[in-house]
Amino acid sequence: MIRIQQILPNTKITHLILFLAIIPVLQFADAQNVPQASEEGKRVYEKSCAHCHGTEGRGDGSAAENLLPKPRDFTRGLYKIRSTEAGELPTDQDLLDIITKGMPGSSMPGWETALSANERREVVAYIKTFHDGFKEQESPPRQISLAGKIAYSEESVEIGKGLYTELGCIECHGNIGRGDGTSAPTLTDEWGFQTWPANLAQSWNFRGGSDTEDIFKRFIGGLAGSPMPAFEGDSFLNFGLTSAESKRLTELENRDEMTAAEEEESGQYYEKMDAAVNIALNIAEGTELSAEEQQTYTEAMKVVYEKSWHLANYVKSLAPEKRPEPAIGNNVLRSQYVTDALPAKTDAAWDTLESSHFPLVAQVIIEPRQFNPTIDSVNVKSFYNDTEVAFLFTWDDRTHTTAEEDEETGNILEDALAIQFPVKIPQGPTAPKPYFLWGGRLPVYLWQWKASAPDQVTELTAKGINNAEAQAVQSDIQAEGSYTNGQYTLWVKRALKTDDKKDLQLEPGVFVPIAFSAWDGANGDINTKRVISSWYAFVLEPVPSSKRFIYPPLVALLSVGLLLGLRGFVQRRNS
């Protein structure tokens, strides 16, 4: 099998050519043409999908064991990412889109290049055979209307923020959306597997995309099979009331005592709600509606849609558009020089720095391994002065675990972070670095921090992931750690130079390899079971040389002199 990418080099020009060549194909790559299930669909499914989703579509392929989220069980007809209303099956286009684009933050890749448009359509048809509901469908699923979109604005975000609390989003997604709600650790999906609420600050992991429309569709349609409920008529907050009425009712309900008039007023609201809910239930049960009922329902749903747009705008406001650029290449972590004392943990000076972003990956190299990481990345800022360096590490963790017994193993689990440096900085680009997984032949120098002792960092020397020891002589390292709203913040300060030969010695302008390990106790992380990074680099950014104000004018003056000299020379020769 020869692929076009292999023949043509991977450049922008070829992308353009490919794109132009694909245009006629693209016109057919929509779900209009999803065929009847065929042998071809089965072949593609068994080649590319069955190893995770199982030959019978139960989500139990041999690779499924180590995956979380689990591969979808197609037999239940429960699909999270849909453009259809709650309780409906997805459209062919929904299925095709997921296959084409994949699901960020999960192990489902996009199949755009691996499978042809036709193969993807065939596989959609085949997947549908696993659930009878598709065959029994009498009418096409009801699509979520995006017509009433409310544009992003400060006001809309503010309204959405209020709804976020009012609707109870906080219970799982936490105060500011980092997925750290008090119910987060106990959630399971429809199949009984543990599942974590989305960290709304990490839009790059949203399974169904992070556009406002995508977020909106998740609210209206729900994430079927997960604990995330849909915003349906029969269960939505104060369904059937206008926004003003709803506000008024909440106000009345929050009173300790109501006057007779207020009792009556709230009674009217309840009646109105009951009538609207009754219509919603009739729809769910398949009862025909009268025109009047239809009208009431449409009006009531309009409010649900409106509130959902505000909430979507709020969620949109919680995260950057995409993952920050990782701190590699020329984007390395640069510690900034200050002449005075280094800023303390809560100093506003830290806000003046951009974070360097270090994505973390699961440690799947040495047993016991972690296949289902929960910590996505660590962000770092740094300042230094003539004698010391200070770092500010932040990372999201949905749970604050300081000492929790693992029911299966009896291990005491806790959250932790380790920052790794080589003991000796490799000299020159070809000099070997220690093995990135806590060293080997060449040792590494580590700062180990644990949530149970948040104001302490221990120095370790390691020659392997299972061969680490706390240093006998601990240098004076100051540390302060805290946990708020699903995020750890750790501040560390150390002298640039120490007397200990096992320590890293720092010098401005020298690039130092740096790597991280992080543990989420609530995810069973302990010892080798953790998330890691490979080597990155950081540098104490040298103070810009004062030479930059001396040499350039000198050179310019010299060139003027040269030009004048040349002119003089030519003139003399002419005369």
Binding site: S107, A114, A362, W535, S559
Partner: protein, 258 residues
């Protein structure tokens, strides 16, 4: 239109060559040409231009004429003053940018491929010389296609139970853990990988992983696990069969290039 002077022509050729090397060639071969190589070519071009203009005395004079005029002619005063300001300004900016430039971290100039040891081992068991060991199941491809398929299918299972996290569903090195591993996991769809190696080499890389890479040619920084700790010998051979079966690339055999 006035005929272009020789000086202008040379200037156009010089700038044209630089633009060609810097922007056009780099895009076509997908790797930008290193600055030092461009400098070398530009040096050659300057020599060529110098040779061209100095072959004849008249040509040399023709080349110098516009410079000469600019420097002394009274009716070229405006141009002279503009140049007298622009050149120092340019040098001022250029020198400043060189001095104030941020230092960037060293690149990773490692060898394309490591050299394998002389002997292929599995754990401590010696399998044979690297230049001789063959995949014990490869011969089924001709002898017993059914058994061959069974080995490939088992290789597929091994692959998706163990390897696809990094090397990807489509064997393209884009598994869900791949994006933030440095260096990136191997892309088996790349024609530069499987066809370049004998199966014994692949067996060595799989069984010994990153820590098994030689001391020479560092830094490797490979995140490849030591798979002999997890997989049986046969599973490794099977997964190699699967890699070549799925991608359609045949590993190199011993006849070639030796």
């Amino acid at each position: 239109m006035k005929r272009l002077s020789l000086f202008t022509k040379c200037l156009i050729i010089f700038i044209g060559c630089w633009v060609f090397l810097r922007f056009i060639v780099g895009n076509v071969i997908s790797v930008p040409i290193p600055g030092s190589v461009i400098a070398m070519y530009m040096g050659l071009i300057i020599v060529a231009i110098l040779v061209h203009i100095s072959v004849e005395d008249t040509r040399f004079r023709e080349f110098l004429r516009p410079i000469h005029e600019t420097l002394v002619d009274n009716n070229r005063r405006v141009r002279r003053r503009v140049i007298a300001v622009l050149i120092p300004l340019f040098l001022l900016g250029y020198t400043y940018s060189i001095i104030a430039q941020r230092t960037n971290p060293p690149g990773n100039p490692r060898d394309a491929h490591p050299s394998p040891p002389l002997e292929i081992t599995y754990k401590d068991e010696v399998i044979g010389a690297t230049q001789e060991v063959e995949n014990p199941f490869r011969h089924y491809e001709k002898d017993d296609p059914e058994a061959f398929r069974a080995h490939v299918e088992n290789g597929k299972r091994v692959y998706y139970d163990n390897c696809f996290y990094c090397h990807g569903d489509d064997l393209d090195g884009q598994g869900h853990f791949a994006p933030h591993i440095q260096p990136l996991p191997a892309n088996f769809q790349d024609p530069g990988i499987i066809p370049n190696f004998q199966e014994s080499f692949l067996f060595w890389r799989i069984s010994k992983g990153g820590p098994g890479l030689p001391a020479a040619g560092t830094p490797w920084d490979s995140a490849m696990p030591i798979w002999e700790n997890y997989l049986t010998k046969d599973e490794i051979w099977d997964v190699i069969l699967f890699l070549s079966d799925y991608t359609g690339y045949q590993p190199r055999t011993f006849g070639e290039g030796h």
